[in-house]
Structure formats: structure tokens, C-alpha cells
């Protein structure tokens, strides 16, 4: 990330050689390239200060024991050793992976079905498209708080509904029982974000050239054959990339769990984000929490890097 400063030193410094003086060469070089470095400077300074430096600092901090006040104490890899033996860390890891898996499956699966139905231009498709995307716009914090009220045991919408249709036995304390809390939380992003893959997949389906459809129509295919042999193979790359994107963003989950359960009851819905926050800002174990952060970084960075190798951000149309 130190590219701009690093590059400046590459100016050939050949004193005494023939040709224009060093000063003039530098100024010519600067005249040609300098303006670009000035254009980049604000971004690079921000990234170095608020991303690169904290990142390195996290790596360093993970090797220390520190409560935020007293002098830090170097402990080497002790934090990581403890992490491996910490069943709450493994619990949080598994919950995060399960969360990412089911949220991706749910949003992309439902999004695909919705996109397919809407692309068939059923009556009212515009209304459906607008309505399905609406929750995507809402703040995660609000959605979490809203669903916490919907899941509420006594008067929450869900239990009121279940009791109204005579299913009293199913009216459970959704967020207060260690068996259901994580599952109940996982439902919420599926509800909120199903519209996102829908929009992306819909754009992909609508991008299939019309002559391919015409050819299929001439061949006399039915709806299922059209879906399965024409549309699915053509949009597969988009489905894969939106799935990766959903996996990456759900691995970073924090807000939702924090607002709905804070990882309770009994850490049954804790994810890496909430685990890290509690270790750091509630227990003041900043070294240990940094070790958690480093583990998360390793996981998310690897997956995102693989994703970037597959998908390129290139041409954009507006």
C-alpha cells in the first residue's frame, strides 16, 4: 500500500552522467506523473491511517496480553493457543459458518425462485419486484430490533399468530431458548436480503439474448425445460458469484446478532463478531480479542481473495 512513496524513490539517480541535470529530470518526471500521485494521495493516506496501520496493529496486539490501561505484556502465540482450547470460540466459529451457510442458501435459493417467477412476467411483476427489495434498504439494527419484537414470547406477532390458528404448542420463546435462538436469528437476514440476489439474478435472466429463447421456442420446449436447460446454465456464473458475496458478507455478521440476542442465551447464538466485541470491550482482553480478529481476518481475507480471482470488477454501465 506504500506504493506512492515507494515509487518516488525509483527515480533514476545517476549523477554525473551526461544529459539533463538531475534536478531537471526529476522535475520533468514529476511534471508527467506527479499529478496522479496527488490525485491518489488522499485515498492512500486514509487507507494507510485507518486500514493498513490498524491491520498491522491488530496482528501485533494479538501477541500481547493487554487490558487497555496497564503496560502490554508480550506473550507470543499464547493467545492463539488459548483460542484453540476455548470452546466458546469454537462455538462462535461454528455459529458463524452455519449462519453464512444457511443465510446464503436461503437468500440465493429464494432469490432465484423469485427472479425466475418475475422474469416470466406474471401479472403484477413490477409490484412484486419493488416489494421484495424493500427490506434490503432497511437498517440492519432496525430489522433486528423489529424481529426481536416479532419473536417476543407473550405478545410477539409470531406467537400471537400461532395461538390464533390453534398452534399454541408451537408458540415458543424463540430467542430465549438455546435450541432455537440461532435458527430464529438466521431467518431474519433471509427475510431481509432475499430481494438482493433476486435483483441480480433477474438482471442476469433478462440479459439472456432473445434469439436463444426464440430458438428454444421453435424447438418446442416447455417451461421446465426452458428453465433447466436454457436459463440455469447461462446464469450459473452469476449465481456462483452472488453466493460467494453472500457468504463473505454473512461471515462478517455482527449488528443483527448484537441487537437480537447479544449472543445469548448461554452463547448459543454468539458469532465471531459478537465474541470479539465482548472479549475486547466487555472483558477488556484486547490481546485475546485481537487474536480472534486475526483469525477472522484470515478466514474472510482468504475467501474474498479467491472470489476476486474469479470475478473481476471491470466494465460498468450507468
Amino acid at each position: 500500500m506504500d506504493a506512492t512513496t515507494g515509487v518516488r524513490e525509483e527515480v533514476p539517480v545517476r549523477q554525473g552522467a551526461g544529459g539533463p541535470s538531475l534536478g531537471r529530470r526529476v522535475s520533468k518526471w514529476w511534471g508527467r506523473n506527479g499529478i496522479w500521485y496527488l490525485f491518489l494521495a488522499p485515498s492512500v493516506i486514509l487507507l494507510l491511517t485507518f486500514m493498513a496501520y490498524p491491520l498491522v496493529n491488530s496482528l501485533v496486539l494479538s501477541l500481547y496480553k493487554w487490558n487497555g490501561l496497564a503496560p502490554r505484556k508480550f506473550v507470543g502465540l499464547k493467545n492463539f493457543e488459548r483460542l484453540v482450547g476455548d470452546r466458546f470460540f469454537w462455538g462462535a466459529t461454528w455459529h458463524t459458518l452455519a449462519f453464512a451457510f444457511f443465510v446464503t442458501l436461503g437468500t440465493v435459493g429464494i432469490g432465484f425462485l423469485l427472479a425466475f417467477a418475475i422474469s416470466r412476467r406474471v401479472p403484477g411483476w413490477r409490484v412484486f419486484r419493488v416489494g421484495y427489495y424493500l427490506p434490503v434498504m432497511l437498517s440492519l439494527v432496525v430489522v433486528g430490533a423489529l424481529w426481536a419484537r416479532i419473536y417476543e414470547y407473550n405478545w410477539g406477532l409470531l406467537n400471537t399468530f400461532l395461538r390464533a390458528i390453534g398452534l399454541d404448542a408451537l408458540a415458543l420463546p424463540w430467542l430465549a431458548d438455546i435450541r432455537y435462538a440461532l435458527g430464529a436469528v438466521i431467518i431474519v437476514p433471509i427475510w431481509q436480503y432475499a430481494g438482493f440476489p433476486m435483483i441480480i439474478i433477474l438482471a442476469a435472466i433478462e440479459g439472456i439474448p432473445q434469439d436463444l429463447h426464440d430458438a428454444a421456442t421453435i424447438d418446442g420446449v416447455n417451461e421446465w425445460q426452458r428453465a433447466w436447460y436454457l436459463i440455469v446454465p447461462l446464469i450459473r456464473p452469476v449465481v456462483i458469484s452472488i453466493s460467494m458475496l453472500q457468504v463473505i458478507s454473512s461471515l462478517k455478521v455482527f449488528d443483527l446478532v448484537w441487537v437480537m440476542t447479544k449472543g445469548d442465551p448461554g452463547n448459543s447464538s454468539a458469532v465471531l463478531g459478537t465474541f470479539l466485541y465482548r472479549q475486547g470491550f466487555e472483558m477488556q482482553k484486547f490481546g485475546y480479542a485481537s487474536a480472534v480478529a486475526v483469525m477472522m481476518f484470515a478466514i474472510v481475507f482468504t475467501i474474498t481473495y479467491l472470489y476476486q480471482r474469479m470475478v473481476k470488477i471491470e466494465a460498468v454501465e450507468f
Partner: protein
């Protein structure tokens, strides 16, 4: 109303049954998606007694008691307008700074052939993969050292940094597809690079800038992770923290329900209005870039 694919399968008898089933499922799902949002606004207009007695119904006597309660301080002990103002300042500040900084960088990466451009480009791509979690603790202490905790400028700097990698790559991709001829004319006329950028490129790129703002506005408005650790003084807090401040405390028996719904309604109202105003641009903005 043309079918994509232009087939006539849905006109057959079997097709018609399929169509009806499809519509029923779609309508049911629409209720599932939209009703909770409607419920949120309805509930914010009810008294606690009504919320408990008939959670589903339309408010019988809509009243603004919850809104008045939070507006004049309520549990947070601060007039609500402070949270609204903080959120507006942080969001607009972030968007302005982000657009300025990112479009400059994106322009340089798209147009400049200078030593190191490939490295910088790669650095932006890699920084896209850095999760906010790994920055949280160091940034907390960094902001303290800078005297920027509980400070909206600090939030703006942090959010701008978080939005930078993606926005820079998008602006770069946009400028790559931007016709060079316009700029060359200006350069030949003796306009400087910066002058060309400011007077020629920016004015014609208004739509693109708008899209960049759209892509970023929702997450900035809703950000909680950094706000939670950096803003602990009540008067510096943003709306997502206000939602938490009005969370009913079941354990301590503090179960006033209505005010939180009013806070939630105020928090999402700008986003909902924004969505219905710019619905087309938003869905388009979301589809762009990443999936080609």
C-alpha cells in the same frame, strides 16, 4: 407486457394452473416481506396497551405519543433531534468526502500510466477483503490518540476509509468507459489535469456520482459496529445507537414498547422514502459492476 423469452406456454391449460399457483405464492411472499415493515409503522402509532392487545391491527386511534416521548428526550435524556442531526451530518459528510476522494483516485487509476499504478490498483483490490472486525480495536485506540472519539469527523474519516476500496474500483471502471476525447480537447486548450477533471469530467459524470452515493448511503446511515465503540457519549450518537438506547429491558422490568418503534420508524423513514424515489437507480446501482 412481453414475456422475456416470448413463449406462449403460459397460455395452455396446464400453464394457466401453474400461473395461478405462482401468483398465489408470490402474493403470499409479498405479504411476508412487506407486512413487518407496515407493522413497524403501525405499531409506532399505537399506545402500549394497544400494542399488547391487538398487535396485528391497524391503529384504531393513531396517535403520536411515542414520537413526542422520544422527541423530547425520553429514556435517552437527549432531544431526539440530536441523533437525527448526527446521522445526517455523518452520512452527508461521508458521502461528500468519499465521492471527492474516490473519484480522484479512480480517475488517476483509469487515466494515469505512472510507475506504481498497478500496485496501487492491486492494493485497493486487496483492501476490499479486509473485514472491519480486524480494525475495530486498533481504531478505537487510534481515535482516542487523535482525540477523535465521540467526534463526528472521526466517524466520517472511518466510514470514508471503509467505503473507499469498493467506490474507487467502481469509479475507475466508470472512467475507463468514459470517452477520452472530451478531456483531450480540454488539455490541448491548456487546461490542467485537475482543471479538466473538475470542469469537464465531473459535470458530465453526475449520474455516476449519484450511483456511487446510492451504493453507499444505506450502509453509512445504518452503521453500528464502529459507532458502538467510538460514540459512547449520548450527544454524539447516531440513529442506530438510538434504536439500542430505546431497547426495552425485559430483565429490569422496563418494558415500555412504543417509543422504540417510533425511533425505528424515524430511522428507516429516510431510507424508505429514498427507496421509493430512486427505486430504479437503486436496483440498477446494486446490479452494476460486481457481476460481470
Amino acid at each position: 407486457m412481453t414475456n422475456v423469452g416470448g413463449d406462449s406456454q403460459l397460455a395452455t391449460v396446464g400453464g394457466r394452473v401453474l400461473k395461478i399457483v405462482m401468483i398465489v405464492v408470490l402474493v403470499a411472499w409479498l405479504l411476508v416481506e412487506v407486512y413487518p415493515v407496515v407493522f413497524l409503522f403501525f405499531t409506532s402509532l399505537k399506545t402500549d396497551a394497544e400494542i399488547l392487545k391487538e398487535p396485528f391491527s391497524i391503529p384504531r386511534r393513531p396517535n403520536l405519543v411515542n414520537y413526542f416521548y422520544v422527541w423530547f428526550g425520553g429514556r435517552a435524556g437527549q432531544p431526539f433531534v440530536i441523533f437525527v442531526r448526527n446521522s445526517f451530518m455523518v452520512t452527508s459528510g461521508t458521502l461528500l468526502l468519499l465521492l471527492a476522494v474516490a473519484s480522484l483516485a479512480g480517475y488517476a487509476l483509469a487515466r494515469g500510466h505512472f510507475p506504481g499504478s498497478a500496485v496501487v490498483q492491486e492494493a485497493f483490490l486487496l483492501s476490499l477483503a479486509v473485514p472491519a472486525h480486524v480494525l475495530l480495536i486498533p481504531v478505537f485506540f487510534l481515535m482516542q490518540a487523535f482525540g477523535l472519539s465521540n467526534n463526528l469527523s472521526g466517524m466520517i474519516l472511518m466510514y470514508t476509509t471503509m467505503g473507499l476500496p469498493f467506490t474507487v474500483l467502481l469509479t475507475r471502471a466508470y472512467f475507463l468507459s468514459f470517452p477520452v476525447e472530451l478531456e483531450e480537447a480540454a488539455l490541448i486548450d491548456g487546461c490542467s489535469r485537475l482543471g479538466t477533471f473538475w470542469r469537464v469530467v465531473v459535470p458530465v459524470s453526475r449520474n455516476a456520482m449519484m450511483s456511487m452515493a446510492i451504493v453507499n448511503v444505506s450502509w453509512v446511515w445504518s452503521e453500528l459496529f464502529f459507532a458502538l465503540v467510538l460514540l459512547n457519549r449520548m450527544e454524539a450518537r447516531t440513529l442506530p445507537l438510538a434504536v439500542l438506547a430505546y431497547q426495552p429491558q425485559m430483565m429490569t422490568g422496563d418494558v415500555i414498547l412504543g417509543p422504540q418503534f417510533a425511533v425505528m420508524a424515524i430511522t428507516v423513514m429516510p431510507l424508505v422514502v429514498f427507496y421509493f424515489l430512486f427505486q430504479r437507480q437503486i436496483t440498477k446501482g446494486m446490479t452494476m459492476g460486481a457481476f460481470r
